[in-house]
């Protein structure tokens, strides 16, 4: 079966309509990163992966495990919410401040201040993976 490298795929897609190219990237290209839920329920189960288009896509969920949503947090990390109930959607500094409403400048100032005192709980592992607030992220390859 003929194969195509990521660089060849990029060359091919660069000539297409950007929206269609993003669609093909998200469906054809290999995953960039994987996320594992480290809760007691999930016990390190892989719940989703980031595709080459930057989208986080959940695995086929089980009843109690699966990626429900993601969010770019103000501390620079990606937050996750798992079907098991575990969540790092808000950082400890954002907790109670960031809601469904767009934040005010005052709220952001408070988040900034609290980030200094109460940063995210980050553990860097020997295998290169990083656990942020209970979710382990494994980088599989760099984004092409």
């Amino acid at each position: 079966m003929p194969t195509i490298t990521d660089s060849q795929l990029d060359e091919l897609l660069s000539k297409m309509d950007p929206k269609m190219a993003a669609h093909y990237r998200s469906t054809l290209a290999g995953d960039v990163a994987a996320v594992y839920c480290m809760s007691k329920t999930c016990k390190g189960r892989k719940i989703g992966a980031q595709n080459a288009a930057g989208q986080w896509v959940g695995n086929t969920p089980t009843k109690k495990s699966g990626l429900l949503s993601t969010r770019a947090r103000f501390d620079g990390h990606t937050g996750f919410r798992c079907r098991c109930g575990a969540s790092s959607i808000t950082s400890p500094a954002e907790s109670g401040i960031i809601t469904s409403e767009a934040p005010t400048r005052k709220a952001l100032a408070e988040v900034y201040e609290r980030q200094q005192k109460n940063p995210a709980k980050i553990t860097e592992h020997a295998d290169g993976t990083v656990t942020v607030d209970g979710f382990k992220i494994e980088q599989l390859r760099s984004i092409a």
Binding site: G48, G58, S69, R71, G79, T99
Partner: protein, 226 residues
């Protein structure tokens, strides 16, 4: 696939959160269920959706009477008022009046008009022989053949036209009874009445001229249709 119910996801998203494909799918299912109407819960239709004035004639093709107003007596008294009432070309008044503390002798008035601008011809029977009983220059439309003693009740049901520019005409009647056994027939009362006013009815009052009160639980409903 449209659901026959709206799933209660029990989740909300916060600022900047991106739901997964599964959750987007749930939202899509909800949209489909709402579009077909299948997802509207039985308890989702509450009083304000169907209450007085909420449903117009244009939305009720094939449905006739619309409830325009309703008053249920919570404190015994001599006056039951229904206002404001949306003016419709046809009107129907249904009243259940219960007597307490003495007799009731009801009159129906419109637009707070207590002048002698009402007239009627009525037909009733108390002993098998029907009797015509006209009334002119009255201060209201009579509700029943005889005053009712405490404990008795009357059901009034009269309908009429409420067109602007002409006098209002009504036809209907009532049936009244004291608390008696089935061996006693109730008193029938048929009435043909008019209100000498060209204004459309926007208020209905039921007034007691008897010695007692309309008891708690007495109720007057006004229906209408254009």
């Amino acid at each position: 696939m449209a659901l026959d119910y709206l799933p209660s996801p029990g989740w909300a998203v916060i600022y900047g959160e991106t739901p997964s494909a599964t959750r987007w799918s749930e939202l899509g299912d909800n949209d489909d269920a709402l579009a077909t109407g299948a997802g509207i819960d039985d308890l989702a239709i509450i009083n304000r959706h169907i209450g007085p004035g909420a449903v117009t004639a244009n939305e009720t093709t094939g449905i006739w009477w619309e409830e325009l107003a309703r008053t249920t007596v919570s404190v015994a008294g001599d006056l039951i008022t229904l206002t404001p009432i949306t003016a419709k070309k046809y009107i129907r008044i249904i009243a259940v009046l219960k007597a307490t503390g003495g007799t009731i002798d009801s009159r129906i008035r419109f637009n707070n008009d207590s002048g002698n601008n009402y007239a009627y011809n009525s037909l009733y029977s108390n002993s098998g022989t029907p009797t015509f009983d006209p009334g002119i220059l009255q201060a209201g439309i009579n509700g029943e053949a005889f005053t009712l003693v405490s404990g008795g009740s009357v059901l009034i049901d009269i309908g009429g036209q409420n067109h602007s520019g002409v006098y209002k005409q009504f036809v209907g009647g009532s049936i009244s009874d004291t608390v008696t056994a089935a061996s006693t027939a109730p008193v029938p009362y048929t009435i043909y009445a008019k209100w000498a006013s060209t204004a459309q009815i926007t208020r209905v009052d039921v007034v007691n001229n008897g010695t007692g009160d309309f008891a708690i639980g007495s109720e007057v409903i006004v229906l209408g249709h254009d």
